[in-house]
């Protein structure tokens, strides 16, 4: 087979003269016609930069300082702007992570589809439109004859992502770069998009580079996988071989992340810590929660699972008192809680703490770590002076960060995982009984996320905490939850012990949700699509 893409010793550097950082340290990549290569790595590994470089493109401030990018014999690293312009869209196309942000909201989908064929002169307007409809049909978009005449905000995220892939196919390119195309989608939507992408890539024998941090996804899509770390290739192998027998330690550690398991626990003590009865809540006129009743057993982890819009975060807001319910009552240790946090006393506020999804916005960037932790400690426990300092040090040790190193840093000087740890420490500062964890790991890389989950489990064992764990990630649920609550469109669909939910789901929605979670098995996507189709 002929090589379509041959990247040799590619170096990328960014930043001003003098303070340059290297993004890629001499990367080698090859891609044959019709082959799908998966690029896997954590954030900052350089996989997106490598993907863009395969198009001969670099982000602002990034420069190619060495190596060559041979696309069908043309060196893109040295090609003129006119050559690149001719290749882009016609022979090389790109599908971005967020289709919603990549489409121009002021134009209809089909107008944007036709841009590339008209620009490159591969088709006339009428032919391009007909082709768009044919591709929409192949991408299994609903109502393919009309969907193109809608504006981007009128179709759903999963449909947009498929429309974007169709658009990339418009000139039948030789190579498509997919940059995390399904990361922002719900699992049940993701499976449709993955299937559609793979069908169309196979049908036209298009080569593709598929960039993702999700190993299970890449094992469905790619023929070959390259694992990257800190701008270097770690390991490359055929997908099945990589899954079965990873060679490098780093690859093995990535593969092993999903091995986390919570310790077995005895049955909960009598009486729930918190319960809810008939909760209804709405934003303006939109009803988000409809008759939710739930009990959270003391000392255990209850996972609330659902896709976006299921009302799981709203439930957290109701418990915390940010959004008072329009109906129903939240009962804390036997007595009803006032709906608004302003009406709750300090002891109640203290015992219900929250850890947020985005540690960046959950911590005040103008405060130091010390300031962030001292305030709640003083506020809730009244400690002063040396005792206060000792308590802050103790908190830092609980979250496994060195007080001497971190206490006087400003929040923006921390990494994502460290910020999330500080977020947890701030919750612990109140010495709470109950912590609401709202998607605490979904913004983090897998290895970092695993560290956070381990920490949460350890803290629970040491301090006897009760967690409500809001997430859309079923792998996380399997790792840490005692009980699982499945939510859909503001209602609870199913509740039960974790093992029961996973082994014997009752409702159709739960079954579909469980079936949609990508597995680390190259044949999974085919199998599950057949089952869902039948």
């Amino acid at each position: 087979m002929s090589k379509l893409l041959d990247i040799r010793g590619l170096r990328l550097e960014a930043g001003p003269m003098g303070g340059r950082t290297t993004i890629l340290h001499g990367l080698d990549l090859t891609l044959n016609r019709g082959e799908v290569l998966g690029l896997v790595g954590e954030s900052g590994a350089g996989k997106s930069s490598a993907g863009l470089a395969a198009m001969g493109y670099t982000r602002d401030g990034v420069g190619i300082t060495g190596g060559e990018i041979l696309f069908d014999g043309i060196d893109l690293a040295r090609a003129s702007a006119a050559t690149l312009q001719d290749l882009h869209g016609r022979r090389i196309a790109y599908v971005a992570q967020s289709a919603a942000a990549s489409f121009n909201p002021a134009h209809r989908l089909i107008d944007q589809f036709c841009e590339a064929p008209l620009l490159h002169g591969t088709a006339a307007r009428a032919a391009a439109e007909a082709d768009a409809i044919a591709l929409y049909r192949q991408m299994q978009l609903p109502n393919p004859d009309q969907i193109g005449f809608r504006y981007p905000h009128q179709v759903s995220g999963g449909q947009l992502q498929r429309a974007m892939t169709a658009m990339a196919m418009a000139c039948r390119p030789d190579l498509i770069i997919f940059d995390e195309p399904t990361t922002a989608l719900d699992v049940t939507t993701q499976i449709e998009v993955l299937g559609a992408i793979r069908d169309v890539v196979e049908r036209y024998n298009t080569a593709a580079i598929y960039i993702t941090h999700d190993l299970a996804v890449v094992s469905q899509m790619a023929d070959r996988i390259t694992v990257m770390k800190h701008g270097r290739e770690v390991e490359t192998a055929k997908t099945r071989q990589m899954l079965a027998a990873p060679q490098e330690d780093y690859t093995k550690s990535l593969w092993a992340v999903r091995g986390l398991k919570r310790p077995e626990r005895s049955a909960p003590e009598a009486g729930p810590l918190l319960s809810m009865r008939g909760i209804e809540a709405s934003y303006a006129s939109a009803k988000v929660l409809q008759g939710v009743s739930l009990e959270l057993p003391r000392g255990q982890t209850t996972a609330v699972v659902g896709e976006s819009g299921s009302g799981k975060s709203t439930l957290a807001k109701v418990i915390a008192g940010v959004l008072p319910p329009s109906n129903g009552v939240v009962v804390w240790q036997g007595s009803p809680l006032p709906g608004r946090y302003q009406k709750r006393d300090r002891a109640t506020l203290r015992h219900i703490q929250m850890v947020y999804q985005m540690a960046d916005t959950a911590l005040n960037p103008r405060h130091t770590v010390r300031g962030t932790l001292e305030r709640p400690v003083r506020h809730f426990t009244g400690l002063r002076g040396a005792a206060l300092g000792a308590r802050v040090n103790e908190l830092m040790e609980l979250i496994e960060l060195d007080p001497a190193v971190f206490l006087d840093r400003l929040i923006p000087e921390l990494s994502g995982g460290q910020k999330q740890r500080i977020g947890i420490a701030r919750a612990l500062a109140a010495e709470p009984e109950f912590i609401i964890c709202d998607e605490v790991t979904s913004a983090l890389d897998q290895l970092v996320a695993e560290g956070i989950l381990r920490l949460l489990l350890r803290l629970q064992a040491e301090l006897g905490l009760t967690y409500m764990f809001i997430t859309h990630d079923l792998a996380t649920v399997e790792a840490i939850a005692d009980r699982v609550v499945i939510m859909q469109q503001g209602r609870i669909v199913e509740t039960g012990d974790q093992s029961r939910i996973f082994s014997d789901p009752q409702s159709d929605y739960t079954k579909r949700l469980l079936a949609s979670v990508p597995q680390m098995d190259a044949g999974w996507l085919n199998g599950v699509r057949q089952r869902l189709a039948s």
Binding site: P16, Y341, I352, M358, A362, N364, R366, R375, A430
Partner: protein
């Protein structure tokens, strides 16, 4: 010190001019050869060794009045801007934090203030309360609360939507803590830059009011009224009345240089 070294020449020049003007104001009695209101010669004397910039319409030394004028004009402008900022920023942040009726009520009052052209509003209010220095400071401060309120409300809106505000609220923090410790540090760079710009406007405003005769009252020296008092000299081809005008222009430009640099730093742009 390190940030100062990285500052562009324009900003350094601006800081130099501002420092010179401030020092002149502070040490006016030591620097000025004559008293502020002392009549030392005949009217409209030309430039000479005794009176480097000549004398004014009543025979007072121009140079001495320029030096005292720096103290009066710049000092009052600083005071006025300070009041407008303290009140405007506090109200703006409060409106952003509380939302609902607090926000509505405050914002509509501010809208009314902004609907009337500032100079006309100032003339009207000063006609009601009478032209005196405290009244003038009060009136200009009230007028300039409006834009400061708008800006700080908009900036604070971005901050209050973030989770750390919710976390502090759920901890039971009071309004004062939320405004001072959680919101203010995040909008301070915007406010500081705005302070520089507003200072220029207030400064020009005072000069304008003085020129119109309802600002700083004679015999107090200030740059605006000095232009007015000696304006007739222009017809004789004497540039003396332009000197206080030039001083106003110079200070305004200097502050703009500094503000530009600060805005640039706050926006995080490199080049």
């Amino acid at each position: 010190m390190k940030t100062l070294k990285s500052a562009p020449t324009t900003a350094l020049l601006g800081m130099l001019i501002l420092a010179a003007v401030l020092l002149t104001g502070v040490f006016a009695p030591l620097l000025a050869p004559y008293g502020e209101t002392e009549i030392v010669g005949v009217e409209y004397e030309p430039w000479s060794a005794a009176f480097p910039l000549g004398t004014d319409n009543l025979g007072r030394d121009m140079l001495s009045r320029m030096i005292y004028g720096a103290r009066n004009t710049v000092g009052l402008a600083l005071l006025t801007t300070g009041i407008a900022f303290t009140a405007g920023a506090a109200l703006g942040m409060l409106a952003a934090l509380k939302g609902g009726w607090t926000d509505q009520a405050l914002s509509r009052v501010i809208d009314v203030l902004m609907a009337v052209p500032p100079l006309i509003l100032a003339l009207m209010l000063l006609a009601i309360v009478g032209p005196s220095i405290p009244n003038m400071v009060g009136v200009i401060a009230v007028i300039y609360i409006a834009p400061v309120y708008r800006l700080s409300r908009a900036a604070a809106m971005n901050v209050v939507s973030q989770d750390f505000i919710q976390a502090a609220q759920l901890r039971g923090e009071g309004t004062l803590w939320l405004l001072r410790r959680e919101v203010l540090p995040n909008i301070s760079s915007t406010l500081i830059a705005e302070f520089g710009l507003r200072f220029c406007f207030v400064f020009l405003f005072i000069a304008a009011l003085s020129f119109l005769g309802i600002g700083i009252q004679p015999p107090t020296a200030d740059w605006g009224s000095m232009v007015k008092e000696n304006a007739t000299l222009i017809t004789f081809g004497d540039i003396t009345p332009l000197i206080p005008a030039a001083a106003i222009a110079l200070l305004t430009i200097a502050i703009n240089f500094i503000v530009d640099w600060m805005l640039h730093r706050a926006s995080g742009l490199k080049s």
